[in-house]
């Protein structure tokens, strides 16, 4: 059974806040749901499916949020696989709608990480107490450190340079300069990135995503219903998800979840790499982008450094990515997968103003959750306006 073009993203909303000490996480989430339903031309009475991670909430997670908005959905999904969760929720919602489990599913996220001063990438080393953590946490694993080890190995194996990684951050900042709600909008140079302090070698401060508050929501429904709604439907063509971990001590660490989830999404969508007009690639760190593009098959393993160079990733380049400015410059409240889907949908609807990619018909979204260097998830979507 193919899911291709049976369902669509019918409404999206990115909460404009980047700092909200006056709002709770639930309020940001609820305002995001309102925004996405308005965008779709639907009301809260139409919602019969609900997805959010439940991470950062109390023990009852998604049920508590249903309580707050007085929702009684027929379908709930609180898959919690880190930053990619909302990309996975979109995939699951598509399958649920195609199978008749619900008709209108809202996917929602909110966080007040910045106003609560969470040290997302460089704090906490205690782990959860689960078996794998026992053998990592005593050595001081941070999120940035786990990604830095991927960068170090990539540089060793393939001669990837700090300048090549820096160009990714420079491009994201260029895009953020064209996004009125981005947190950091002043242009930067490769020299600025290399001159910023080293957080965990070889990654500099400006190789790392920012920390902000924020939230967003999506409305997913059947393609048929989406055709009669307010906005142009963004069809879901293919989905895939995967995880990678220590593999009992036998992992090749430059093989990431994107290799598996991307292959599945392309096969299921029935499209080729050359058909992708723009991509939203989770940019927790510059190295995340480079190694994700390789693993998705946009270039060969080891060629990522050259691929991300020369302006290719710019909104007006040969392969535009992260036109909102990404997690590196626009917003990163902890798990930014939802913003990947939102920006891709806006690009496919032609709503991106000065940063609009020309003739954008098909987009790829890839979310990463967890840490590439220890344990992580990947979720891929292929979307189209046709």
């Amino acid at each position: 059974m193919s899911l291709s073009r049976k369902t669509a993203v019918a409404g999206v909303y990115e909460h404009p806040t980047r700092f909200a000490p006056d709002k709770s996480m639930f309020q940001i989430m609820a305002e995001s749901v309102r925004g996405a339903l308005d965008d779709a031309g639907l009301t809260i009475k139409d919602v019969d499916g609900l997805a959010t991670t439940g991470m950062g909430m109390g023990g009852m997670g998604i049920i508590s949020f249903a309580d707050y908005l007085n929702l009684t959905p027929n379908y709930v999904d609180s898959t919690a696989i880190g930053g990619s969760s909302f990309v996975a929720h979109t995939a699951h919602a598509a399958a649920a709608i195609a199978a008749g489990l619900c008709e209108v599913c809202v996917v929602v996220y909110g966080s007040t990480a910045a106003s609560q001063r969470f040290a997302i990438g460089t704090g906490g080393a205690g782990g959860s107490g689960d078996p794998p953590d026992q053998y990592d946490a005593p050595f001081g694993v941070t999120t940035v450190g786990a990604y830095a080890m991927i960068a170090q190995r990539h540089m060793h194996d393939y001669g990837t340079t700090p300048e090549q990684l820096a160009e990714i951050a420079v491009t994201m900042r260029l895009h953020a300069s064209m996004n009125p709600v981005a947190k950091y909008r002043d242009r930067i140079t490769v020299e600025d990135v290399l001159a910023s302090r080293v957080i965990s070698s070889p990654l500099h401060l400006l190789d790392c995503c920012i920390i902000s508050d924020g939230g967003g929501a999506l409305v997913i429904t059947s393609a048929e219903r989406a055709k009669n709604l307010k906005k142009k439907p963004v069809y879901i063509l293919g989905v895939g998800e995967a995880v990678r971990h220590a593999a009992r001590g036998q992992r090749d660490y430059l093989d990431i979840a994107a290799a598996q989830s991307g292959k599945l999404a392309f096969e299921r969508a029935g499209v080729a790499h050359k058909d992708i007009d723009m991509a939203m690639i989770y940019d927790s760190f510059t190295i995340t982008v480079l190694t994700t593009l390789e693993n998705l098959g946009f270039c060969k393993r080891g060629e990522g450094g050259a691929f991300v160079s020369g302006g290719r990733l710019r909104y007006d380049g040969a392969f535009p990515i992260n036109t909102d400015g990404g997690g590196l410059s626009s917003n990163h409240p902890g798990m930014r997968g939802i913003f990947l889907v939102i920006e891709a949908a806006k690009q496919l609807r032609g709503e991106c103003g000065p940063r609009q990619v020309k003739n954008c018909k098909t987009a790829l979204v890839h979310g990463t959750g967890g840490a590439l260097g220890t344990r992580h998830s990947g979720a891929t979507l292929i979307l189209s306006n046709q």
């Binding site: 460089t122 080393a125 205690g126 026992q134 053998y135 001081g140 965990s200 009992r248 001590g249 036998q250």
Partner: protein, 141 residues
């Protein structure tokens, strides 16, 4: 408030239980082990009760040589967590043991600029509490 006389070990400690106790007890004796499946021969680290290749519970403990090579590493200059913020920068690494398995660890007795991927290293045992010894690595001598 008066300063405590002895500095308490502030970094995270493992939860030793019946599944992993033999491994941690061996480290206390300054011996580093991996596991091998008695049915299919698959090697695994970290220790667990069954083979991930064939799900057999029949497990052999193999003592390692304690030698390996640096697979990758990072020098960490920022970590707000107690125990680590006082010991910056520290080096975190995956060491690939001569037996073929990768372990997350710290490199000690060297400076970040001395570390190279592929560099031979050997285990050093750090007795961090009366119950817990950690396997760290230093440049091979």
């Amino acid at each position: 408030m008066p300063e405590p006389k002895e500095k308490k070990y502030a970094k995270p400690l493992p939860h030793i239980d019946e599944e992993n106790r033999p491994w941690w007890e061996a480290l206390k004796r300054h011996e580093l082990y991996i596991q091998k499946c008695r049915d299919c021969g698959d090697l695994r680290y970290y220790p667990r009760a069954l083979c991930t290749n064939c799900l057999s519970s029949r497990t052999e403990w193999l003592r390692t040589s304690g030698h390996g090579k640096v697979y990758t590493f990072t020098a960490t200059y920022q970590n707000q967590a107690a125990g680590f913020r006082e010991s910056l920068p520290y080096i975190m690494a995956y060491v690939e043991l001569d037996e073929g398995l990768k372990m997350l660890t710290n490199l000690v007795e060297c400076r970040p600029e001395q570390v190279k991927i592929g560099m031979p290293v050997e285990v050093v045992y750090e007795d961090v509490t009366p119950e817990v010894t950690l396997a760290k690595f230093r440049p091979a001598r």
